[in-house]
């Protein structure tokens, strides 16, 4: 294999190209044979037969944002863990597995402590906003009801 061979990325580029070409090709080909009778009713957004009220782009709940924030943190974490995980076996074979195991466990445990914190504080609950600022008993009821 020649030095610094980038040919391995060729299939990725080709597949992406095929994907884009397929989508555009099929839609352009369909344009030749499909009917085209636009009408105002057809081009309305579907809302079970009613005229749509306003636009759909409203302010969404913050919980989606929190989920993606936590996701990014885990994502970066996994990006750091992947290279360490892939040298684990090699270190184990030369008898230095203990060090890498300790490093690994400390790394994961710090993350786990964060997860435990969020869990205890109720940040992992999807319906948390419904039973905030309620006393203990009514909170229990809400949880049972949900």
């Amino acid at each position: 294999m020649s030095s610094h061979n980038l040919d391995v990325y060729m299939p990725i580029l080709i597949l992406i190209g095929i994907g884009i070409a397929l989508v555009f090709g099929a839609i352009l080909f369909g344009k030749l044979i499909r009917p085209h009778n636009p009408s105002r009713l057809k081009e309305q957004a579907y809302e079970c037969g009613e005229d749509p009220v306003g636009v759909a782009w409203s302010n969404f709940n913050v919980r989606f944002y929190v989920v993606s924030l936590i996701f990014i943190i885990f994502d970066v974490e996994s990006a750091l863990m992947f290279p360490v995980a892939s040298v684990f076996k090699k270190f184990n074979e030369i008898g230095r597995g203990g060090i890498i195991l300790c490093t690994f466990i400390v790394f994961v445990m710090i993350l786990v402590s964060g997860v435990i914190y969020c869990w205890r504080k109720g940040d992992l609950d999807w319906v948390k906003s419904f039973h905030l600022n309620l006393d203990e008993s009514s909170e229990k009821n809400t949880q049972e009801a949900s």
Partner: protein, 178 residues
């Protein structure tokens, strides 16, 4: 041959995407998609340089994570349809006027000075040598992370812990006692 093709494609994606982020003003959602293009191009650029792990990380963290985070963040404000939110406040208040251009210009100047300062040392000794034989960057990275840079590895975990707790705290409703 293919190296040049890959590089050109990545470069075009980066430039077009970045310009899109700069100049698409009427719809912030479209700017987000332009950012996606630019980040995808950066992954291609890493691949050209032989940093395959970094390219994959770029895909996982930025394309899969940061862009979705931004899309959700835009949806917090109700999408890119109107430039005003429901309280009648302009969403992107200070973009695209003289002040921002001056600030951006100063920033560009400072950053390019720093980059030139760093590059100068490298360029003095620069000889056009063949790139080293292709080998796995993953194992090098992994070995370095658990030997020389083990402290940085662990501290990064603490940094991420801080980010996790911060994200959770910020998102809590004001006045929540829990």
């Amino acid at each position: 041959m293919f190296d040049s093709v890959l590089f050109l494609l990545s470069a075009i994606l980066i430039v077009v995407g970045s310009l899109g982020v700069l100049f698409i003003k009427e719809n912030i959602m479209h700017a987000c998609v332009a950012l996606l293009t630019a980040l995808f191009g950066v992954a291609g650029a890493y691949a050209v340089l032989g940093a395959d792990f970094l390219a994959a990380t770029q895909l996982v963290v930025y394309v899969g994570g940061v862009v979705i985070l931004m899309l959700f963040a835009v949806m917090l404000t109700g999408g890119g349809a109107a430039n005003e939110n429901k309280f009648g406040i302009e969403k992107i208040p200070a973009m695209g006027n003289v002040k921002t251009y001056i600030i951006a210009g100063v920033n560009v100047l400072v950053i390019s000075l720093v980059v030139i300062k760093i590059m100068a040392n490298v360029m003095q000794d620069y000889k056009a040598v063949a790139l080293p034989a292709y080998e796995s960057t993953v194992e090098k990275l992994g070995t370095l992370l658990v030997t020389d840079h083990v402290l940085a590895f662990e501290v990064s975990s603490i940094l991420l812990l801080g980010a996790l707790v911060g994200a959770a705290v910020i998102a809590r409703p004001i006045g929540s006692t829990k």
